[in-house]
Symmetry: C2
Subunit: 291 residues, 2 copies
């Protein structure tokens, strides 16, 4: 496995591989790998000849009062883990390499960045789409892998790729969970034992919403209300949002139909966690008719 | 020469050429070709194995009260002219192909889009950078050719390419002028004979500024004042701006040094024209010492 710190380095590595007819998979990350990241890498390795992983904690996507400085980092451990999954190259630029002085350009996806994390983290998605556009241009992959944990990010990046006619495929990989159901996140390390336990309310309330839908509930606000109530019962949880939105345009759903995203964000102490689930409403409805 | 209306069409044409090891030159245009466009095409043809020209009047870069609807168009003539210069492919998408429904993404270059045309045409450069990012991703050229006539556009697109790490070279081609000095522009056809004659004040005042500098003037505001005075003497000209700015960052110049852009925009009747010249201040200064 090779490690590149410079844009010219990774670029010529990938160019050579592409010219030899090899397909390139790309997993952009902020590092501090957990099983979710490794799942992305393994799937990329299964589908592409060569896999590049980037590690870059992107300052542009953190707000001024967010956790950029304290975001967990462990480069040596990350490199060892990437190597163990068969990754071919790690691209780990510093901030100066990505944003030199007199850097002036941003990429914006409108509308679908308004709800959910876009509302509570102003400027966040502009930072994400800008760095991802840069990384896609630098690495020039055939396929790029993103986790469903960041549901809105996947929708936004898919739209970015389509709107700007980027010549690559976005692959979404299902959420990887701890054995007790907590969605894996680099930020889980911040949680003290009591918050770690309390954080289960996120996946549990989403599961309850899924069951409510399976038993016939078809109104978005009712499902959102159910999740809200369950989270309210957990005193360590401070709810930021629960939203029930249609996919892929993230428009609020009153009467559920088609693919529906239920997404939730809450704080446990200083730690902000997100989780989500996708419901296929027609499919469930059919099962109901059959029973 | 082949004509493509679809993104998939031009993309597979270029992909095949690149895989065969051929270099691709690209000339993005809004059509209605004049000698300036043809000069870009000829230079591209001289430097690249294969040349693609796009013809797309981009609605996103026109303001609501600008001339999008009346912008001159003549597709058949353009195709014949492109063919005559040896162009290999014309990409001429319709608006729906470039901006389908639910198009949400924009690309912005800040700061250097503030002065000059950015000030008088709010949103113009966002439209330019967005469509150019799309076209670069669609055509995927090795080299892209732009005319120095749109001086700020060249600076902005060079910055876009560098900031977003696009893997291509921006080539700037000098202004092509009519025999009497008027900078070539698709909008020149709007001018009635009296305005056509009056419009010469643009290149004449820029020439006067250049001569003033050659004879020792080193203050930006004095040069700008000279141009302003000369244009004020032409009753058919309505001045929009004269600015003297340092390159490449378009910062106002008080004491001239290095590469300096003098740019001017004025209206003649309803027709808005721009022109500019670049001065190399050190070089001129050396000549003075020698004499």
């Amino acid at each position: 496995m090779q490690i590149f710190k410079t844009i010219t380095g990774i670029r010529s590595f990938v160019k050579e591989a592409r010219q030899a007819g090899r397909t390139v998979g790309f997993v952009p990350t902020m590092g501090y790998f957990h099983e979710g990241h490794l799942t992305l890498m393994r799937q990329a390795k299964g589908e592409c000849d060569l896999v590049v992983v980037s590690i870059f904690v992107n300052p542009l996507q953190f707000g001024p009062r967010e956790d950029f400085a304290s975001y967990p980092r462990d480069f040596d451990r990350d490199v060892a883990l990437a190597r163990s999954t068969g990754v071919d190259a790690v691209f780990a630029p510093d901030t100066q390499e990505m944003y030199p002085e007199q850097y002036y350009t941003t990429v914006d996806v409108e509308k679908i960045t308004d709800p959910l994390c876009g509302r509570s983290r102003p400027g966040h998605f502009r930072g994400v789409t800008t760095v991802v556009a840069k990384l896609f241009n630098i690495v020039h992959p055939h396929r790029a892998y993103f986790g469903q944990k960041d549901a809105q990010q996947v929708v936004v990046i898919s739209r970015l790729v389509e709107d700007l006619n980027m010549d690559l495929t976005v692959v979404t990989v299902p959420i990887v969970r701890e054995p007790d159901g907590l969605a894996m996140s680099s930020r889980n390390v911040y949680l003290d034992p009591a918050d770690r336990k309390a954080a289960l309310v996120l996946c549990q309330s989403l599961r309850a919403a899924k069951e409510a839908m399976a038993s016939g509930v078809r109104e978005g606000p009712r499902l959102a209300g159910l999740v809200r109530e369950l989270i309210a019962k957990e005193p360590r949880a401070s709810l930021e949002y629960v939203e029930v939105l249609g996919l892929p345009d993230l428009i609020p759903c009153i009467n559920l139909k088609g693919r529906v995203l239920i997404a939730v964000a809450a704080r446990f102490g200083a730690t902000r966690l997100i989780d989500n689930t996708i419901l296929e409403v027609e499919a469930v409805s059919k099962i109901q008719i059959q029973t």
